[in-house]
């Protein structure tokens, strides 16, 4: 059994929390005491049915206002898969929390209100989906019950979205018309939309597969921690602990240590003190090299045959989360896996208009803005371009004065 991580995105009141509540409720994932708590809270929909959104709105301020402020993670399981849902806020004010949820998901469910069609938040979220290179986009046209389950409404929205997707270069998009409130096409196929020939949402989620990552891309190994017991019987033990990005890290392979550029060979791969000949994508392992090399946290081990870039400057897309605008004169920190370096962002190349995707020159990068910048680092960073190897083309920006994560970065160009 595998895990599917997905996020629901959409504007306020598009019914994200209701959709999740419905998924949980109709798959019998809500337990009696939780249901009891909802009933006690006594929040009802207009038609008197229990408000399922309350299942995910876990904060007092959220329940008071009936909105989602921060990401809630929900878990459920069917015979086919385990699911982790990130229920993210729709408010533009909380875009950073939406990005938090999206960055850890494989699939994004974009909710569109059937009455409103593609609006600014749809565009913003789709743009973020592109920036974060989400593997798949599912557009759920919700509130179909409020447009008499009319096929032409669905078709029009689908056509509009396809246009947007082409503009953005978004691929792998699917569409389902639903009513989260009434439960149409969520867990069961809706009889009221017999014109729709596709699967209900749950069926779709159970079956959806992701395009395989390029075989040739190889692996990267950022060192998190050096295991060095220094006991009598393990006097020479020196293992580099980390999690493999990509696959194919094997014993006997010639490697390069970055940034030093020293060559060595993989001597041993351990998981839980057992030896393996190969480490797979996402495994947390300990690697031993055949020679005594000076390696510490923040270094990256790569295949000598397929190394990363190792540069001090690059162009990146940036998504800004802080109330203070990006200051091109200030020093920031860039965290790329286990490595943290001082950086400057001396130049904003342009800012995107999320509605039109046009590029605006000479603008500041402010809260919730997305733009392209030039970054200069104090030390080499062993990165890949986001397009080639997404997991190694990402970083966060920290403001050293507040220690807050102020921006997300995807590396686009050297």
């Amino acid at each position: 059994m595998d895990i599917l991580k997905f996020i629901t995105a959409g504007s306020v009141d598009d019914g994200k929390s209701t959709l999740i509540g419905r998924l949980l409720y109709d798959t019998n994932s809500v337990l009696d005491d939780q249901l009891e708590a909802i009933k006690k809270a006594n929040r009802k929909n207009n038609d008197g049915t229990v408000d399922l959104a309350i299942l995910t709105d876990g904060l007092k301020a959220e329940r008071e206002q009936g909105i989602t402020i921060d990401v809630a993670y929900k878990y459920f399981q069917t015979k086919h898969r385990k699911f982790i849902i990130a229920d993210a806020p729709g408010h533009i004010q909380y875009t950073r929390n939406m990005v938090t949820g999206a960055s850890n998901s494989d699939l994004i469910v974009v909710l569109v209100d059937a009455r409103k069609g593609v609006i600014e938040q749809t565009k913003r979220h789709s743009f973020l989906a592109k920036l974060l290179s989400m593997k798949k986009v599912l557009v759920c046209v919700n509130k179909m019950d409020m447009v008499d389950y009319d096929q032409t409404v669905f078709d029009t929205i689908k056509a509009d979205y396809e246009q947007l997707a082409t503009k953005l270069g978004l691929k792998n998009i699917d569409y389902i018309p639903v009513s989260a409130l009434k439960g149409d096409n969520i867990v069961h196929r809706s009889e009221r939309m017999s014109w729709f020939k596709g699967e209900a949402l749950l069926d779709y989620l159970e079956k959806v597969e992701f395009p395989e990552a390029k075989q040739s891309r190889g692996w990267r190994f950022p060192v998190q921690w050096v295991v060095r017991p220094q006991t009598e019987d393990l006097h020479d033990y020196r293992g580099y602990a980390g999690r493999v990005l990509g696959s194919g890290l094997r014993v006997g392979e010639e490697v390069l240590v970055l940034p030093s550029g020293v060559h060595s060979t993989v001597q041993r791969i351990e998981i839980n003190q057992q030896a393996f000949t190969v480490a797979e994508d996402g495994q947390s392992v300990i690697v031993h090299l055949s020679t005594d090399v000076d390696i510490s946290r923040g270094d990256t081990i790569v295949s000598a045959a397929n190394p990363t870039h190792s540069e001090r400057s690059f162009e990146a897309n940036i998504s800004w989360f802080d109330n203070k605008p990006l200051d091109t004169a200030q020093l920031y920190l860039l965290q790329h896996h286990s490595k943290t370096v001082k950086i400057k962002v001396p130049e904003v190349l342009f800012k995107y208009d999320v509605n039109t995707q046009e590029q605006h020159y000479g603008a500041d990068i402010r809260l919730n803005d997305i733009g392209k910048v030039f970054i200069k680092a104090a030390d080499e960073i062993p990165f890949d371009l986001q397009e080639d190897f997404p997991e190694n083309g990402r970083a966060i920006i920290i403001d050293p004065r507040t220690n807050i994560t102020v921006g997300a970065v995807t590396i686009e160009q050297i």
Binding site: D32, A61, N97, S103, W225, R228, R243, S284
Partner: protein, 296 residues
């Protein structure tokens, strides 16, 4: 990778980030199944090396004796350091005031002792076994969750947490609570315990015990539970699904003596794990309020 492999690899990654990013971390150990799982994961992350942190137990003094003996045995086997913070000390120092009445519990007082212990030892990160599936305020928690110098959680000011890049930078006096098994469900923990053959305190398995019915739930008849003439003490076959201290953890009727029985019991249960925690039933926002105060 199977889903348990995935969850394990993620948890190990998080533990190693703690080791790499903090000067003086600690692993909060309650003797319950989640923190026992954390200890097992720490072995996988750091062995054959030593743990880069001590285990810290906040002892309410109202623990199940089985939990304490299990804790001491585990620590002896591990050869790692254990630090115990006693709620009784906080009471004696006048920092915490013991509740009175029939439903008195020291559960809330743990926060005082925890924050004092953090300050005394200068911990900058505390690893905990909380899971997002436990409770709706927990579902909102980041993996690296920053607490201010008063130990408070501010849900409106949580940092963005992008991809798997965890920002552990903090100001002096602040503290990060780290949750490596955030993405695990109760059933995942049990399936993992079974797969890895992890030992647990006996109270998780069905046993005969004197219990008292309180507010519709079976409480262990402990010496510090106020039992009067309106109570009847029953002798029943029960087990504990979650282990806090004896005054806030209810037992469930159970004949489950093996892990397979427990897994089956949870799979078919219609009550959540926290349904047996008195402390969560106080109000809709009980957990959120406690977390804001500094509860882990």
């Amino acid at each position: 990778m199977d889903y348990l492999d995935h969850l394990e690899a993620e948890a190990i990654y998080i533990l190693r980030e703690v080791a790499g990013q903090f000067e003086n971390p600690a692993l909060l150990f309650s003797g319950g199944k989640d923190s026992i799982t954390l200890v097992h994961l720490a072995k996988k992350a750091f062995r054959p090396g030593k743990f880069p942190f001590p285990l810290v137990h906040i002892d309410t003094g109202h623990n199940f004796p089985e939990t304490i003996s299990f804790r001491d045995q585990l620590v002896a086997e591990l050869g790692e350091q254990l630090i115990v913070g006693y709620v009784q000390d906080s009471i004696d120092q006048g920092k915490a005031i013991e509740q009175t009445g029939k439903n008195a519990s020291r559960n809330a007082l743990q926060t005082v002792t925890l924050l004092d212990t953090i300050e005394q030892y200068g911990f900058d990160a505390c690893i905990g076994g909380a899971r997002r599936d436990e409770e709706k305020a927990r579902a909102k928690e980041r993996i690296f969750s920053v607490r201010d110098e008063f130990g408070q959680w501010d849900p409106k000011r949580q940092r963005p947490e992008l991809w798997n890049i965890l920002n552990g930078k903090i100001n002096k006096g602040e503290n990060v609570r780290v949750f490596p098994i955030s993405n695990w469900t109760e059933l995942d923990v049990w399936n993992y315990i079974k797969r890895e053959n992890i030992a647990l305190p006996s109270i998780y398995f069905s046993h005969q015990r004197d219990v008292v019915l309180r507010n519709g739930q079976w409480m262990a008849a402990a010496p510090f539970l106020q039992i009067d003439e309106t109570d009847t003490v029953d002798h029943k076959s029960v087990r504990f699904r979650t282990v806090g201290d004896m005054t806030c953890t209810a037992a469930v009727d159970s004949e489950a003596v093996e892990l397979d029985d427990i897994i089956e019991e949870i799979r078919s249960s219609t009550i959540s794990e926290r349904g047996a925690r008195i402390d969560d039933k106080v109000s809709e926002a009980a957990m959120e309020e406690r977390k804001k105060q500094g509860y882990f």
